[in-house]
Structures are given as C-alpha cells and as structure tokens.
C-alpha cells in the first residue's frame, strides 16, 4: 500500500520534511509508526511520546489503533492549538 504521510508543527520540524510517500503493509497507525521508528532516529525522536501526538486518516481525526486499509493520507501532528 502506498501512503502519503504529512507532518505538521514540531513533528514536521523533527522529521525534516512536510510530507513523504511510503510503501507499507502496516495494518494500523501504530504499526506504521513502529515501522518508521525502526527506519531512522528522527522518526523515533518525533514519535517517542505518543500521548503528545495526534493522527488523522484521510483528513479525519483517528486513533493509533485505527486500521489503515483503504487510507491514502495519514497526518501526524501535536495536539491542535487553534482559536
């Protein structure tokens, strides 16, 4: 499965790119994060504290155990601070 992964705010700064395309067989967001963490330190650094991380699948807020089946776009970012 090909996924577009987007990063925002300090997650984007730690990963070093705003978006990238990855090939993965991960079934859930949590699995995807584990794959990325194993890949390079910058992912491990950005994703070390899951409680400080939020995720959206195809532009809807999701959970770490949400399935990725059918997803095209996954976004990772800190808790939002609008308003």
């Amino acid at each position: 499965m090909t996924l577009e992964i987007l990063y925002f705010a300090w997650v984007r700064e730690r990963i070093g790119v705003p978006r990238e395309t990855v090939e993965t067989q991960a079934a859930t967001v949590a699995e995807l994060l584990r794959e990325l963490c194993a890949r390079e330190d910058r992912y491990a650094l950005a994703f070390s504290d899951l409680s400080a991380l939020r995720v959206a699948i195809d532009q809807d807020l999701a959970d770490f155990d949400s399935p990725l089946a059918g997803a095209r776009e996954v976004a990772l970012f800190p808790p939002m601070t609008g308003g």
Binding site: F8, D60, M80, T81, G82, G83
Partner: protein, 147 residues
C-alpha cells in the same frame, strides 16, 4: 454556514456588520474575535499559525454542522487565519445568529471550544528568546466535556 480559512487579514467590524445585515430574522447575534495579545511579559514579537489545508475546512465544517444540530441557528460564520501574525492582529472570529440569545451564546462558545482543539491549527510564538510551539492545555481538552 460560512467558513473561511485564509492568510489575509479580515475586517472584524465589516464582518460583524454584514453578519448582522443578513440576520434580520434572528433576535440574537453573538460574535467572538481572537486577537494576538500585544502586551505580554514574554515579549512576543510575532506568531505563525500552521494548518492542514483541506482537513482544516473539513474539520471546521463538521464543527459548525454539529453546532447547527445542537442549537437552533439561522447563521454561522467562522473565519480563521494562518501564516504570520503580529501582536494586535486578529487571528479568527466566529459569529452565530439565532432566534434566542441562549442558542447564539452556547453555539459560539461551543464553536470556540471545538475549533481550539479539534481543528488542525498550530501556533508558534516568536519571542525575543526564540521560537516555540504553543502547547495545548489540558483545560482545552477538558472544555469539550462541557458539551
């Protein structure tokens, strides 16, 4: 339901005037405006708001639709800026129009609570001592439990 996500400034007075103009059949209008504070002990020099194009509009639309489901609203406006902002500049506004005051107040308060922690915006503050992402507050999340 009027939702705008933009980097350009908006004219709060003009938006309030036009919103009121369109709301002759409502008894009550509530508007809220959020401003970058210009007097602060941390000596803020500027702020940058990052957002998630596409998801932002979608999230605001869902929040507004939920407000319209919960309260009797004749109209609802959300404007939220992104990009660089200077102290004193207006960040965002919401406005609600309803037959009764209680609906307009509750809906505006609800919109603010939700867009604060459910719409994909992130604020970065630039002060004399550096740049820092604004941390979400536990109270922001707690505020959602009111509804």
């Amino acid at each position: 339901m009027d939702i705008r996500v933009q980097s350009a400034p908006f004219d709060y007075g003009q938006e309030c005037a036009e919103f009121a103009q369109r709301s002759g059949n409502s008894g009550a209008i509530v508007s809220f405006c959020g401003i970058v504070r210009d007097h602060d002990d941390r000596s803020l020099t500027s702020m940058t708001i990052e957002h998630y194009p596409g998801m932002t509009e979608r999230a605001l639309g869902k929040i507004a639709a939920e407000a319209a489901r919960r309260w009797s609203l004749n109209q609802c406006l959300i404007i939220h800026r992104y990009g660089p902002l200077r102290p004193g500049e207006q960040i965002m506004m919401v406005a609600t129009a309803s037959r009764h005051r209680s609906d307009a107040f509750a809906a505006a308060d609800f919109l603010m609570d939700y867009l604060k922690s459910r719409a994909p915006f992130w604020k970065k503050e630039i002060t004399h001592s550096g740049a820092e992402w604004v941390a979400a507050k536990d109270t922001d999340e707690d505020a959602l439990k009111r509804w």
